[in-house]
Symmetry: C2
Subunit: 241 residues, 2 copies
DNA sequence: CGCAACGTTGAAATTCCTCAATTCACGTGG
DNA sequence: CCACGTGAATTGAGGAATTTCAACGTTGCG
C-alpha cells in the first residue's frame, strides 16, 4: 500500500463523484477510496443538445454521469444514424473509444447533465495497483458487451411491441436501481430517438405506445409514462411469434 | 522486470499459441513473450457442433481460437435464439462472461476447431505487471463493444440486402487479415445461422444471395462464395433508402 | 399569441415473413 | 460405385408487419 500511495502523482481536485459510488460496493479501505477520488476531475455540466464527445474526437477519459441523461449514436457514411444507448446517472460512458483512442460514437446530452471526467491513463495506472479496481473496470466493459448483445437479440428477433416493452421494462429497472419510481417516469428522449434505438420508425413507436395504453398496460402523456401493469408488459415480451 | 519474473508461479505448458500472435505487434521483449506463453494451456480441439462453453457455465478462461470457426448465440426464455457473432482463427472469445463470472452465451464450433485456453485470473494478474498487455486487453474488450455497436447499426437501420452485403464484406476483410483470399471463401454457417445473425429469415438470406448473383456481384455455390464485384457490394451498402 | 417542433393517426405501399413445393448436396449403405 | 435418404437451400405465392406519406393535433417557447 505504501507503494501505491507513493504513486500519487495524480491531481487532487474533486471530492464527491460517481466513481466513489461505483466503487462503494467494492469494500475498499479509506486510503484506497481517497486514492480513487484523487483521480476525478471537477464536475462539468452540459445543456440539452451539447456533445460530451463526438465521433472522431481523441479519447482521453471515461465519464461518470452524475446527473441527467445522454444518448450515444453511431453514424453511417450515408447519413443514417443509430442510437446505440441511453445512459443515465450512475453509469459510465466512453468505453467504446479505448479500442482505437478515437471516439467511435457521439454522446449527446438529452437534458441538463453533470459528469465527472475519469482520465483513462490514470485509471489504467491505478488499476495496476488496485486489483479490485482492475476487476471492476473489466466488469464494466464486459457488462457493456452483454448489454449490447441483448440489444442485438432485441433488434434481431423481436417485433415492434416487444421491443418497446423491453425498452420500458429496462428503463423501469434502471430507475429502480437509482431509487426512482419503477412505474412512473419522464422520458428524456423523443419518439424518433426511441425509434432509432429500437430499429423502428417514430410512427411505429407512437402507435405501439397508443396500443399499450388502449389495452391498459400503461398510461402515456407524451413524455410522461405510467406503467399500470408491469407483469403485462413482461408477458408481452415473452410472447414469441 | 525482475519483479515480473519473480512472479512466475504460472504453469508452463503450451509453446505456440494465438496469444503470441496476438501480442506480436506489441513489440514485447523475449522475456515478456516467454512469460505470456507460460500462461497458455495446451490446445484443445472441438468438432462441429461441440460447445466451447454454454450459457450459465462458470467463467474461468478466455479462449484464443487457433483454427476453425465458432458462433456465439444468446437465448431468450421463450426459446428464440440470436446469433451474436461468428469468430474465426486469431480472435478471442469469451469476453462477455467477465461481467458476472458466468457465461452469457453459448459458443459452438461450426467446424473442427482448435483453441488455446487463457485462464483469466492469470491474465489479470499478469496484466498488472505488463502495462502493454493490460492495454491490449482493454483494447480487445473495447473493440468488441465497437463491433457490437456496428451490428446494432446494421440490425437497426439496414434492409435485408444491405445487411448481407455488410456481412460478406466483413467476412472478406477478416479473411484478408488472416492471409486468405478476400474474394473466394467457404461459408461455415448455414443460411439459418446467417439469418439469425442478420435478423432475417433463412429464405430472405437465400433470396438475397440469389439476387446478388443475378446482378453479377457474386457467384454462389451454396457455401462457396466468390465475390466478383466488391465495389458493387460496397455501393449497395452505402445506398440509403 | 403564434410559430415550430414534436406527436398522433390514417391509408397506401413496401419489405419481409410464412407456408409450401421442389431441388440440390452429401453421406451412408447396398 | 451408385442409389437412396436426409437435411439444407432455393423458389414461388400470399399475407402480415412495418414503413412511408400525409394530414392533423399538441406542447411549449419566444
Amino acid at each position: 500500500m505504501q507503494q501505491i500511495v507513493g504513486r500519487s502523482h495524480l491531481k487532487v481536485t474533486c471530492s464527491v463523484c460517481s466513481l466513489r459510488e461505483l466503487c462503494m460496493p467494492l469494500g475498499l479501505s479509506d486510503a484506497e477510496m481517497e486514492l480513487l477520488e484523487s483521480l476525478s476531475s471537477p464536475k462539468s455540466t452540459f445543456k440539452r443538445g451539447d456533445f460530451l464527445y463526438r465521433s472522431g474526437d481523441r479519447f482521453t477519459s471515461l465519464y461518470a454521469i452524475r446527473m441527467g441523461f445522454f444518448k450515444t449514436q453511431v453514424l453511417h457514411e450515408d447519413g443514417r444514424e443509430q442510437v446505440t444507448g441511453f445512459q443515465m446517472a450512475g453509469e459510465i460512458i466512453g468505453l467504446d473509444a479505448i479500442s482505437s483512442d478515437i471516439h467511435a460514437c457521439d454522446a449527446i446530452a438529452l437534458e441538463d447533465c453533470e459528469v465527472c471526467e475519469l482520465p483513462f491513463a490514470q485509471l489504467e495506472s491505478l488499476s495496476r495497483d488496485l486489483p479490485i479496481l482492475q476487476r471492476h473496470l473489466h466488469k464494466l466493459m464486459s457488462r457493456e458487451i452483454v448489454r449490447d448483445q441483448s440489444i442485438m437479440l432485441l433488434l434481431g428477433s423481436m417485433r415492434a411491441e416487444e421491443r418497446l416493452a423491453a425498452f420500458l421494462l429496462n428503463l423501469s429497472e434502471r430507475f429502480t436501481a437509482r431509487g426512482y419510481s419503477p412505474t412512473q417516469f419522464q422520458l428524456r428522449m423523443s419518439r424518433e430517438e426511441i425509434g432509432s434505438y429500437l430499429g423502428l420508425k417514430l410512427e411505429t413507436v407512437s402507435r405501439a405506445f397508443s396500443h399499450f395504453q388502449e389495452i391498459g398496460l400503461i398510461k402515456v402523456q407524451v413524455k410522461s409514462i405510467h406503467i399500470l401493469n408491469p407483469a403485462g408488459l413482461q408477458e408481452c415480451l415473452n410472447k414469441s411469434r
